[in-house]
Amino acid sequence: MQTVGHLGWETGFVTFLRTHLNVVIPVATLSAKILVRVFSREDFAEVMRSVTNLPLELLLISMSFMLGALAGISDSYFTRFASQSDADLFAALAVIVIFFLCLITNLLTKFLRFVFGKLFIAFKQYRELSAQPTIPGAVPDIAVAGRILWAMAYCIIMALVLVLSFGISVITLAYVLHLIQ
């Protein structure tokens, strides 16, 4: 029998991973997605498309955990219910609820891409207008400042949508992990 020498810190690290799966899964998925795209030398528009899909993917991970619970992978899940049929019914209902959350998150992702398009164009137009020569002494036009104002509004909307979609997916994942762990 072989023994492996302990470094000391790895026990604490593994305990952290086990007890904080609700943090580790989303962060590790995001990091892996970014690293894979960066090492594949894809441009940032592609990385962006991949990252905006992350909330939906986290919900799909939650759904697969629930399906795993339904299949009997987790023993602790069944101990929460009075009977096997109660546990099965709850798991089936949870899968249906997660499916509807997927639909909502998909709509939010589509809206996020729409806002990204607007933000991209606002800055494109800003660059084009800034490059044009100005007449000295002329009254400053709102066209340039207006683009920046709209870009700011799009950024605020984007942040709210991201917090909402990640909120839905991370909280759902945490709840599912709480049920099966």
């Binding site: 904080h20 609700n22 943090v23 989303p26 962060v27 995001l30 970014i34 441009d43 940032f44 528009a45 990385v47 962006m48 990252v51 905006t52 992350l54 996020l112 729409f114 990204f116 398009g117 607007k118 933000l119 991209f120 164009i121 606002a122 800055f123 494109k124 137009q125 660059r127 709102i142 066209a143 207006g146 683009r147 920046i148 104002l149 709209w150 870009a151 700011m152 509004a153 950024c155 605020i156 909307i157 984007m158 942040a159 709210l160 991201l162 917090v163 990640f166 909120g167 991370v170 909280i171 945490a174």
Partner: protein
């Protein structure tokens, strides 16, 4: 329970900020504008919580509609459709802003007309502006 809630909030904010940075990097090529927009993104959750709390205790004042800004948004939207494809989204953000502003003004005019009947003609004129 509180610890779990805090870690969840921290995770959501972290994921949202990293995603925002990637989106901003794809959309904005100027680093100084990107930094400024990232600042707005970081401030948004805090400001929105404060704004929500404020709305609960006081009535928010409507921001005056600017037709020039509305026209700029229409230009942005039409170029977005030309570049990325799809349909022109209606009502746009500016159209929603215009409707909510006129609704707030109309509501104030109706309240004023109720208090002073001499202002009812003024209230009718505002309703026709929409």
């Amino acid at each position: 329970m509180l610890y779990t809630a805090l870690t969840l909030i921290g995770t959501v904010l972290l994921l949202a900020f990293v995603s925002s940075y990637i989106i901003l990097r794809a959309a904005i090529s100027e680093p100084h504008w990107r930094r400024m927009m990232l600042f707005f993104v970081i401030m948004t959750p805090v400001v929105s919580v404060i704004a929500f709390a404020k709305v609960l205790f006081s009535r928010p004042k409507p921001i005056r509609y600017n037709a020039e800004l509305g026209r700029i948004e229409d230009e942005i939207e039409s170029e977005r459709v030309r570049t990325f494809g799809g349909k022109v989204v209606y009502p746009s953000f500016s159209e929603r802003w215009k409707m909510s502003y006129f609704y707030a003004v109309e509501k104030s005019a109706v309240t004023a007309a109720r208090l002073d009947p001499a202002l009812s003609n003024f209230s009718y004129k505002i309703s026709n502006l929409r």
